[in-house]
């Protein structure tokens, strides 16, 4: 199914929660959605027989300087087609509902996005830092991240 | 030992004044030292041979830097172990920690007493030979458990528990597999067992070919004994890749050396028992060693015994570098569900065979056919 068809299906079902389709210059096209409706859209994308996106390839946080975004890359084993879903988030305390009950693969990716970007995922099974030590301050992959001078007395 | 002491006294007049018990005591110490030297050199050379055989099997060379072609490697290892600082972990149970290696070494060295090296070459021809070996080698369990518990390390504790479960549950098949040899020889003493395989039948006199059941019991014994001495298919107590080397993880220096030597001591004991009970011990095939004068008879029989024992040790090393390791529950299942029933059936088979054919094996019957 083509990106446009998927977009129309979602637009039909969720109306204004589905904002726009970024397809020019985006290799798997992106459907931009409102952050609040991510869980319902995710469940629909997985359960709908025509779409059946059963495998979450990659979930990544992106810092667009003035706003954050969480990009989901989905793929369907049955229909062998792929789509991207993006949710833009405000810069201060970005958060959106988790999808790790829809795709269990999301847990580690969400923990990484939380760890490196500070994006909180409400209702996540266990959201803690994955790559950095627990008591690390700051989220390194943000564009405005300043390196701490010392960490437990070790020069960074 | 007294007979030997008496013959020594009247052979050397100036000893007449010394009381008999002192002479026998002195003699025992001398024999013990000889055996200890043999055991230590065997264990040293054994570790070198193990690494050379491993190198050969794994398409590489093995140690060749110390001495010509790596011959003195085991001396280097020994010196290294002695010079290394032997650390005792902070809140380890100090006394038990220091005691454990001695238990393990004594457990494995004490069994050398009854090993029948040659016609007259045996430290003490105990009439309860095999029973004594079974009792003494189970001392190793105590040592390993102590080591596991006292080094206050979770991995060591797990290693110790595994060792206890393994060695105890494999004692039964080892014991059961040796009893056919006892039934045939009619005595527990190892010298008698070896003599029962002598005679002019030569190679066919061995217990191995006595009847099909003893043939199986040799292999059962060999497998079970490998398990009892923690050899590779069963080296769970010091499983390098899981328990980071199990019970001897906190040991270093000469204490670790004792565990290391004891392991090779056990290896030799298993090989010695296998040769004595199933492969005709020091019997020179088709030739009676007693007829030779005293010194040559012993040397020849010693040579035959050692070649057979070393062949068994090499086979153990060969198996060691081929097979992966069992899991603990599979280990237990193998002992209780496979080895124990098989050895019992085997034992039944041997005793029925001896009852029916009045103690004669297949080779014996064939020989009696030809008169």
């Amino acid at each position: 199914m083509e990106a446009q068809a998927i977009f129309d299906a979602l637009k039909g079902k969720f109306g204004d929660a589905v904002v726009e389709l970024q397809s020019e210059g985006f290799s798997p096209a992106f459907v931009v959605v409102a952050p609040a409706a991510v869980k319902e859209i995710a469940r629909f994308l997985k359960d709908d027989p025509a779409l059946s996106f059963d495998s979450l390839m990659c979930l990544s946080g992106v810092d667009y300087k003035e706003k954050f975004a969480v990009a989901y890359h989905l793929h369907s084993m049955k229909h062998r087609h792929a789509i991207g879903v993006k949710a833009f988030l405000p810069r201060e305390n970005p958060s959106l509902p988790t999808v790790d009950d829809v795709w269990p693969a999301a847990n580690f990716h969400e923990r990484e996005a939380f760890d490196l970007f500070g994006i909180a995922f409400e209702g996540s099974k266990d959201l803690r830092r994955i790559l950095l030590p627990e008591d690390w301050e700051g989220h390194p992959l943000r564009k405005d991240y300043k390196y701490p001078d010392f960490y437990h007395g070790i020069k960074v | 030992m007294e007979a030997l002491a008496k013959s020594l006294v009247n052979a050397v007049p100036l000893l007449a004044g010394v009381p008999l018990w002192a002479v026998t005591l002195l003699l025992m110490v001398v024999v013990a030292v000889v055996i200890l030297v043999f055991a230590l050199t065997f264990e040293g050379v054994g570790s070198l041979v193990l690494r050379k055989v491993a190198g050969d099997i794994q398409a590489r060379i093995g140690p060749n830097r110390v001495g010509p072609n790596g011959i003195l490697q085991f001396l280097a290892d020994g010196v290294k172990l002695v010079l290394k600082e032997d650390i005792i972990p902070a809140n380890a149970d100090r006394l038990l920690f220091q005691l454990a290696p001695y238990f393990v070494f004594v457990g494995s060295f004490a069994a050398f007493v009854v090993v029948p090296f040659g016609v007259g070459l045996i430290a003490a021809d105990l009439n309860i030979g095999i029973y004594y070996v079974m009792a003494v080698t189970s001392l190793v369990v105590v040592g390993v458990l102590l080591a596991g518990w006292s080094s206050n390390n979770k991995w060591a504790l797990l290693g110790g528990m595994r060792a206890a479960a393994q060695i105890v549950s494999y004692e039964i098949p080892v014991g059961m597999a040796l009893i056919p040899a006892v039934l045939i020889a009619g005595s527990l003493s190892l010298q008698d067992i070896v003599r029962s395989q002598g005679g002019l039948l030569g190679v066919f006199g061995w217990n191995l070919f006595h009847n099909p059941f003893t043939f199986f019991s040799f292999f059962l014994y060999f497998t079970a004994a490998q398990a009892e001495t923690n050899q590779t298919p069963f080296d769970l107590p010091e499983a390098e890749s899981e328990l980071v080397s199990g019970y001897n993880v906190e040991y270093s220096g000469i204490r670790f050396g004792f565990f290391f030597l004891a392991e090779f001591g056990d290896m030799f004991i298993v090989a010695a028992l296998a040769t004595a009970c199933f492969l005709g011990g020091w019997n020179v095939p088709f030739f009676n060693a007693d007829t030779l004068p005293w010194i040559w008879g012993n040397l020849l029989s010693l040579g035959v015994f050692l070649t057979k024992a070393f062949a068994m040790v090499l086979i153990m090393m060969w198996v060691r570098w081929t097979l992966p390791r069992l899991r603990v529950d599979q280990l237990m299942r193998m002992s209780w569900k496979y080895l124990v029933p098989l050895t019992f059936v085997n034992l039944l088979g041997v005793s029925l065979w001896l009852l029916l054919f009045k103690g004669k094996g297949i080779p014996g019957m064939i020989a009696s056919l030809f008169g």
């Binding site: 290799s27 495998s55 992106v62 084993m77 | 890749s241 899991r327 529950d329």
Partner: protein, 376 residues
């Protein structure tokens, strides 16, 4: 007499299968809570090898990031190099000459063989048999010689370039590769006789950590871990890139040969069979390789168009997906690398519930994880 169990409170033991452990294939720490030998909960704790590759990616240019992809999965550096080159070429729509694509496929498949050899060797070493590990390393050294000939280094190859490869095959390289393949093919059957179908090895692996097909898909497993559960999904076949459509090879799938489909033995056997398929691919590639240039014209100051691309390629440890956001400047704007081992650790806690400590080692070996890929 009744055993007063209340009086003897048995406590669960928490063991640190710590970052420094002989069989965690790198600095992985697993916090085991065990009841005796049986593990009640095994929580992986990753991050000990986090070097911030994605942050470095935003500081260096597209060409300068190539040597860093060697450090992503150092056992399959060629695959990661080529993945990065393919991703940037997809973003900037660069046309790569035919010979360069063939060379890339040859070195990627050779690297798949050498990576699976390490997976096979270290797995049998974890199970206690050291000899196959030495045989695997001996074969891998021959592959390293080939790589040293073509790109000058034995581990961090840095061979691919955006728009082609750094150097053409030196004289004698193609013949030597053919020689290696003929030498290597019978070795696989030898390994199977030596260890794969060995009774103890099969007992240690069969029916351990079974992952049904839909659970593997739900947890996003990829590569041999996914195919081990019976899902015939191979990116080289289902989302063909480069010149893979020109070769015919079979997708090896776990069939539950010695246990149920999706157990450790299946994942292991998929890797062994995949080595045979890679031999087939390299042979066909050697036969059909055309002549021609090996590097396309790429402007010195390389500025890709603005846009976002997600490219994934089939690496030995699963799918390496690169999500590349470019704002038209010389440096990538955002770079997310998703790897097979990272996702395998996700399912680790669920799969190892109720196994024994020796099985934890078996599961780690069957997923063939490698830590630089997880922590990046």
């Amino acid at each position: 007499m009744t055993i007063r169990t209340d009086a003897l409170p048995t406590q669960e033991m928490t063991i640190n299968m710590g970052p420094q452990h002989p069989s965690t294939h790198g600095v992985l720490r697993v916090i085991l809570t065990t009841d005796g030998e049986v593990v009640t909960r095994a929580v992986p704790d990753v991050g000990y090898l986090h070097r911030g590759l994605e942050k470095i990616g935003e500081r260096v240019t597209y060409a300068q990031f190539m040597p860093f992809t060697d450090r992503l999965d150092y056992l399959a550096a060629m695959n990661c190099n080529c993945a990065w080159a393919w991703a940037v070429e997809k973003l900037a729509k660069i046309e790569v000459p035919e010979r360069a694509e063939y060379l890339r496929v040859i070195v990627c498949e050779l690297n798949r063989i050498s990576s699976h050899l390490i997976a096979f060797g270290s797995y049998t070493a974890d199970m206690g048999a050291f000899t196959p590990f030495l045989y695997a390393i001996r074969e891998r050294e021959k592959v390293n010689d080939l790589f040293e000939m073509i790109c000058g280094n034995r581990l961090t190859y840095n061979y691919a370039r955006v728009g082609g490869v750094s150097g053409d095959a030196p004289p004698g390289f193609l013949e030597k590769t053919k020689e290696f393949l003929d030498y290597f093919e019978p070795k696989l059957d030898e390994y199977n006789n030596l260890i794969s179908y060995n009774k103890i090895f099969v007992h240690r692996l069969a029916n351990v950590a079974v992952i049904p097909a839909e659970e593997a898909v739900a947890y996003g497993l990829t590569g041999p871990n996914l195919r081990g559960s019976g899902v015939p999904f191979d990116l080289r076949k289902d989302e063909p890139y480069s010149v893979y459509p020109k070769f015919d090879f079979k997708v090896c799938v776990g069939t539950g040969e010695r246990g149920t489909p999706g157990d450790c033995f299946d994942r292991y056997m998929v890797r062994i069979n995949e080595m045979r398929e890679s031999i087939k691919i390299v042979r066909q590639a050697l036969a059909q390789i055309p002549d021609g240039p090996v590097l396309a014209k790429v402007p010195r100051v390389f500025k890709p168009p603005v846009g976002e691309v997600y490219f994934r390629s089939e690496c030995p440890r699963g799918e390496t997906g690169i999500y590349l956001v470019s704002d038209g400047s010389v440096n990538p704007f955002r770079l997310k690398i998703r790897t097979g081992s990272f996702v395998a650790m996700n399912i680790f806690e669920k799969v190892t519930r109720g196994l024994m400590i020796a099985d934890i080692v078996a599961v780690i070996g069957s997923f063939d994880i490698i830590l630089p890929e997880i922590d990046r």
